[in-house]
């Protein structure tokens, strides 16, 4: 493993210096554009200055950290999560609740689930009535495939808040834990969720879209996704999920339209490349090489949060099912969303090692997860879901 990382770092150095260091010809040459628009930039700068001038004022730091996380989510820019973590530093040492919750969100984003849960546990010990801690816990447990744990956490959250967010949390978890039909009916029947803010509404619509997809209700799923796109802020999760939906229905041209300008975030570049490959698009090769370099860069710094995507890259774009299976297995040990199960099943099938899919099959039978896309793959295994 160490040798591979070595090779990667060296390769990275080599490939990246296929563009050699140079001295620009003239002073006016623009080297780097700051992608955050002017007003936001200035706002962040002034907030930062205030924190610097008044380090003892907690609410300034917390507020700035929140803004950084927001910005990070919006742009899918990991650096902002780093800035947030630095700003929270002194308050984390004091085990400040809000700081810990924000750090849990940061860690979750990095897929450092164990440490994120640890932060949330610390908060819950100090203050069991802090709803947000329960909500985040539910979200993480859901990603890890611990649906009963997620349901417990959602119930605790729902007890602490009158908001519809509690219902969304609960039904989402139930939908994965064998009650897909009833959960979908209940949640989609909730006419107005007026008490949810736009971000939460968007999140709810994506969840509904996913539920519908799992129940093989394609038209309804599409309706939810489109609504989310129209109304809410565009976020990575929504775009990835809708792109996967379109790819499954063999509509790559629409994926290209959707993601053409969204090449910064790795998951989006992946889906764009998948679509471009099917269309024999001229930009495909460049995107392929860029993706490869990005995965290599992640691996070189020891970052393991993209292995699901990397497995898909290996399988569908590089045509290397063995490597895909390896990555999918490692990914499965960290997270167990339906998409993680799916890539593992596909990789196992493609490399002809159906035994490798065993952990997923056990998981599916234990949790009674219903997912039309997975059932198709499982039935091709010869009905082994004992």
């Amino acid at each position: 493993m160490k040798r591979n990382v070595s090779a990667l770092v060296l390769g990275l150095f080599a490939c990246m210096s296929s563009a050699e260091p140079y001295t620009p010809a003239n002073d006016g040459e623009v080297l780097e554009r700051i992608t955050v628009p002017g007003p936001e930039r200035r706002e962040l700068r002034s907030l930062r200055e205030e924190v610097r001038l008044h380090p003892e004022r907690r609410e300034l730091a917390i507020n700035l950290a929140r803004r950084y996380i927001q910005q990070g989510r919006k742009d899918a820019d990991p650096r902002y999560y780093g800035y947030a973590e630095a700003v929270l530093g002194p308050w984390l040492a004091n085990e400040d609740e809000e700081a810990l919750i924000l750090r849990a969100a940061i860690r979750q984003n990095r897929h450092d689930f164990a440490r994120a849960l640890a932060d949330l546990d610390t908060v819950r010990r100090q203050n069991p009535r802090l709803g947000q801690a329960w909500l985040y816990r539910a979200a993480i447990l859901e990603v890890q495939g611990d649906y009963s744990g997620a349901i417990q956490a959602c119930l605790a959250f729902a007890r602490l808040t009158a908001s519809s967010a509690g219902t969304v949390c609960l039904e989402s978890a139930l939908s994965l834990a064998g009650q897909a039909q009833s959960a979908y009916q209940k949640l989609s029947g909730m006419a107005a969720m007026a008490d949810l803010d736009p971000e939460q509404l968007g999140w709810t619509r994506v969840i509904l879209g996913e539920m519908a997809e799992r129940l093989n209700l394609a038209e309804e799923a599409e309706a939810w996704y489109r609504q989310a796109l129209k109304a809410g802020p565009r976020n990575i999760y929504l775009l990835s999920t809708y792109a996967d939906f379109l790819l499954d229905r063999n509509r790559p041209a629409e994926v290209v339209d959707l993601l053409e300008d969204e090449t910064r975030a790795d998951p989006l570049l992946l889906r764009l490349s998948l679509a471009e490959k099917r269309l024999n698009h001229p930009r495909y090769l460049g995107h392929f090489e860029a993706l490869k370099a990005r995965f290599a860069a992640s691996r070189a710094r020891g970052d393991t949060s993209h292995q699901g995507d990397e497995a898909r890259f290996a399988l569908c774009l590089e045509g290397n099912p063995q490597q895909a299976l390896k990555l999918a297995l490692v990914n499965w040990s960290v997270q167990r969303e339906p998409r993680d199960a799916r890539i593992l099943l596909e990789a196992a099938k493609a490399s002809g090692l159906s035994d490798a899919a065993q952990p997923v099959l056990e998981f599916l039978s234990r949790t009674r997860l219903e997912d039309a896309r997975l059932s198709k793959l499982v039935s091709n295994q010869g009905g082994q879901s004992s």
């Binding site: 060296l10 563009a19 700051i34 002017g38």
Partner: protein
């Protein structure tokens, strides 16, 4: 050529740069007591730390970067500590360039480090940006004589040590080979017996077909010098030629010839045919002995970059070992030669014994038999 351009252009396709966590690329080349390198630091990160966009138009230009060169250099180098042994290395900025990575443009800081001693183990203390972004990492590439190492430098590590094979390689390897040379000649009974056979009569001289004591120690000494020098010259030459690949003879032949040489030298003491020509005998057979040494040396892996050094060391070891033996032998033999029994007891009987032993070896090696329990080189 075409594929190169193609690939090069691909790297530059109209593609927005990725967003990724913050990394810097630190590349170091170590030679003796100094290191040179370049440090690629993202302009984004420098902007966050120092504020490079002077006119706040959302674009960082080369002019803006260049005007802050000194500050960038001092900021970065203040957060990098290099250490050789116990002493800190002095870092000096040499210049600023620019390069592109997957997530945008980086400032390339060229620098040099002067260290108080030869760098056998380099300590690196890296703390760039950790106060601003604990997820920042330094990706290190460290090249020295022993090869290239890589590492990821994070906030937990403090001062990290990197062993560089190079400084220890030369001296230690040389000493090892000297030792091997000494060992081989001491363990090489056939070589020793050959030499001794030639030297036993050194403390005597021949007159009118009879052995008499040498006239003086000085004469005996010079005789020894002539024989040993001839032997040394010959085996040094053939050892070198064989090790460097110019000569390659089958080892069974070489081993048999060595055994034969011992027989010849021993017999020569009983039926003196070549008394005055012993140095020539030493030289002639010395060539064959050298080939024997070479086969031993070939079993010891010579260091890739320093083959000559290893060869020199081994040869030196052989000479030193030889000198030690001769140094012990000569006074002893001279003392004994003052007595009358020397000629019959030591010279004749001893040589006969050697001749018999060596004949046994000759048969063994030439015919591939195993006559004796003693396994000899």
């Amino acid at each position: 050529m075409k594929t190169w351009i193609f690939l090069y252009l691909l790297c530059w396709s109209a593609l927005a740069f990725a967003h990724k966590p913050s990394d810097s690329y630190l590349s170091l080349q170590v030679e003796e007591d100094r290191a040179t390198g370049h440090w690629d630091i993202a302009l984004r990160d420098l902007d966050y730390a120092l504020g490079l966009d002077a006119n706040d138009d959302g674009a960082i230009t080369w002019g803006e970067v260049r005007s802050r060169e000194a500050e960038i250099a001092s900021y970065a180098l203040a957060r990098l500590a290099l250490q050789a042994g116990r002493g800190a290395c002095q870092l000096t900025a040499l210049g600023l360039r620019v390069d592109e990575h997957t997530d945008g443009h980086y400032a390339v800081l060229d620098f040099a480090a002067e260290c108080p001693q030869t760098i056998a183990s380099l300590g690196i203390g890296y703390r760039l940006f950790f106060d601003l972004d604990p997820q920042h990492r330094g990706l290190l590439r460290l090249a020295g004589k022993g090869g290239t190492q890589t590492a990821v430098l994070g906030p937990e590590e403090g001062l990290r040590q990197f062993e560089l094979a190079q400084a220890t390689n030369g001296m230690a390897a040389f000493k090892d080979f000297v030792r091997e040379g000494v060992w081989h000649i001491w363990m090489g009974y056939d070589h020793i017996l050959f030499l001794l056979s030639l030297l036993l009569p050194a403390v005597l001289s021949r007159q009118q077909g009879r052995w008499i004591q040498a006239a003086s120690f000085r004469l005996a000494f010079w005789d020894v010098v002539k024989v040993v020098t001839a032997f040394t010259l010959a085996h040094s030459v053939s050892l070198s030629l064989a090790t460097l690949g110019y000569v390659n003879l089958p080892s069974r032949w070489v081993e048999s010839a060595i055994a034969a040489s011992v027989v010849a030298a021993a017999i020569n003491n009983i039926l003196p045919l070549f008394h005055r020509r012993r140095p020539h005998l030493a030289f002639g057979f010395g060539l064959v002995h050298g080939l024997g040494f070479a086969s031993v040396l070939s079993d010891l892996a010579l260091p890739e970059g320093d083959r000559l050094l290893g060869l020199l060391g081994f040869n030196l070891g052989v000479e030193l070992g030889q000198l030690a033996i001769v140094g012990v032998f000569l006074p002893m033999a001279y003392g004994l030669s003052r007595h009358r029994f020397y000629e019959p007891a030591v010279l004749k009987a001893g040589s006969l014994a050697i001749a018999l032993l060596a004949s046994g070896w000759l048969l063994e090696r030439a015919l591939d038999w195993n006559l004796m329990a003693m396994a000899l080189p």
